[in-house]
Point group: C2
Chain length 212, copies 2
C-alpha cells in the first residue's frame, strides 16, 4: 500500500488516485527522466534528471561540482515522474484533459557514501536509462566515481495518479455535434544511430536493437 499522509492523499479527482505500491513501481520503472524539485535559496527549482530504483529506494546522481544535489543534501525534495498517454478531446474546453500516469515522491535527499551502495545506485540509474548496458560497458573508474555524487530518496511517501479513457462531458453536451475522443500519444524507440566514430564490425547489441 502507498502512504496516506496529507500530501499524498488526493483532495480532488479521487478516482484518479492509485493506492497500490505496484502502481508506483510501474510508473517509475517505465520512465527515463524524473523531475527533481528542491528548494534553493528559498525558491523552488525543478531539474530533469535520470534515476533508478532498487526496491523502495530511488537513486539520483549528479556531478560533485553541481550546486543542486549538494545544496539539497538532507533537505526535503519532491520527485515526479510523468507519462503522457494522450490528449482527451472533450466537447467543452473545460473538460479537455490528458491521459497520463504520474508518481510524486516526497522525501529527504540522502547523500550515499557507502561505496557498495553508490555502485548499486549507479547501476540502477544506468540500467533504467539503458537496460543491459551495465554489463556491456567500461564501468566507472576511481576518478569518475570521485566526480559523481549519488543520492537516495525513500519511496515511503508517494502518491500515484492516473487518468485513462474517453472524455467525461457534461450530460447536456453529449448532444452537441462535436467530435470527442482521445488522441493517443505514442512513444517508441527509433532506429539506433551508430556513433560516426565507431570502428567497423561492431554489431548493434540485441538489448539495444530490440529494446521493448
Amino acid at each position: 500500500m502507498l502512504s496516506t499522509t496529507a500530501r499524498t492523499t488526493l483532495n480532488r479527482s479521487k478516482e484518479r488516485g492509485r493506492t497500490d505500491r505496484a502502481d508506483l513501481y510501474a510508473v517509475l520503472d517505465a520512465g527515463l527522466v524524473c523531475h527533481l524539485g528542491l528548494v534553493a535559496g528559498g525558491s523552488p527549482m525543478v531539474i530533469p534528471t535520470g534515476y533508478g530504483r532498487v526496491g523502495d529506494t530511488l537513486y539520483l546522481h549528479g556531478s560533485t561540482g553541481a550546486r543542486s544535489l549538494r545544496e539539497a543534501a538532507g533537505a526535503p525534495v519532491c520527485v515526479t515522474v510523468t507519462h503522457v498517454d494522450g490528449v482527451v478531446l472533450a466537447r467543452s474546453t473545460f473538460h479537455h484533459s490528458v491521459n497520463y500516469r504520474s508518481a510524486m515522491i516526497y522525501g529527504t535527499l540522502r547523500v550515499v557514501e557507502d561505496p557498495a551502495e553508490r555502485m548499486e545506485g549507479l547501476r540502477a540509474i544506468t540500467e533504467q536509462l539503458a537496460p543491459g548496458q551495465w554489463d556491456a560497458l567500461r564501468l566507472p573508474d576511481r576518478k569518475e566515481l570521485a566526480a559523481t555524487a549519488v543520492a537516495a530518496v525513500s519511496l515511503e511517501e508517494a502518491s500515484v495518479k492516473t487518468r485513462q479513457g474517453p472524455p467525461k462531458d457534461d450530460d447536456e453536451d453529449y448532444a452537441l455535434p462535436i467530435w470527442a475522443g482521445v488522441l493517443p500519444l505514442v512513444v517508441s524507440w527509433g532506429t539506433p544511430e551508430p556513433d560516426p566514430a565507431l570502428p567497423p564490425g561492431i554489431p548493434i547489441p540485441e538489448h539495444i536493437r530490440n529494446r521493448g
Copy 2:
C-alpha cells in the same frame, strides 16, 4: 536574448546552454505538460500540468478548490518543460546520457483576475494541448469560469539546455569493442479513438486527424 541571472547561467556543460529567446519558445511550444515547482509548507512540490504561452507569459490553470495554485499565489515558482529525444549510449557508464531539450523558468506566480486575460490564458492552454479546438468547442460558461483559477508566470528569467548528437567518450575508450551511438525516442500521434458515446456521423476534424 535570455536572462543572465546567476540561476539561469550554467556553471557546467556550458556548451549545452542556449541563449536565444527563440530556443525558449521552441521548447515551450512543442510541449504538452510542464512540471510546476512550488514550495508548500517548506517542502518542494512538483506538479505535472498543462500550460500555454502568449508572448512572454506562460499561463497555467487549476481548480479554484486546489491547494497548490492558491498557496503559490505571489510566491516563487519554477516551471520546467523537458523533451527527451533519445538515449546516448557511450562506451563507458560514466558518459551515458540523454539527448534532450529543456527549459526552466523562474518567476512569481500571478493569479490572473482580469476576465479578458483569463480567457486569453485559457485559450492558450487549450490550444497548446489541442490546437484548433478552441474554435470548435463549447467555450467555458460562467460556472466553469468561476471554478477555474488562471495563473501567469513571466518568461523573463529562463534558461534553455539541450544535448543532441553522439556520445562523447574518453579518448582511450574509442578503441574498445563496444557499440556506441544514440537510440532515438520517437514521439508521435496515434490513431484518434472516438468516444464510445459519440453519435454516428460526426467525422474526426482535420486538425485532430492530421495533427503535426
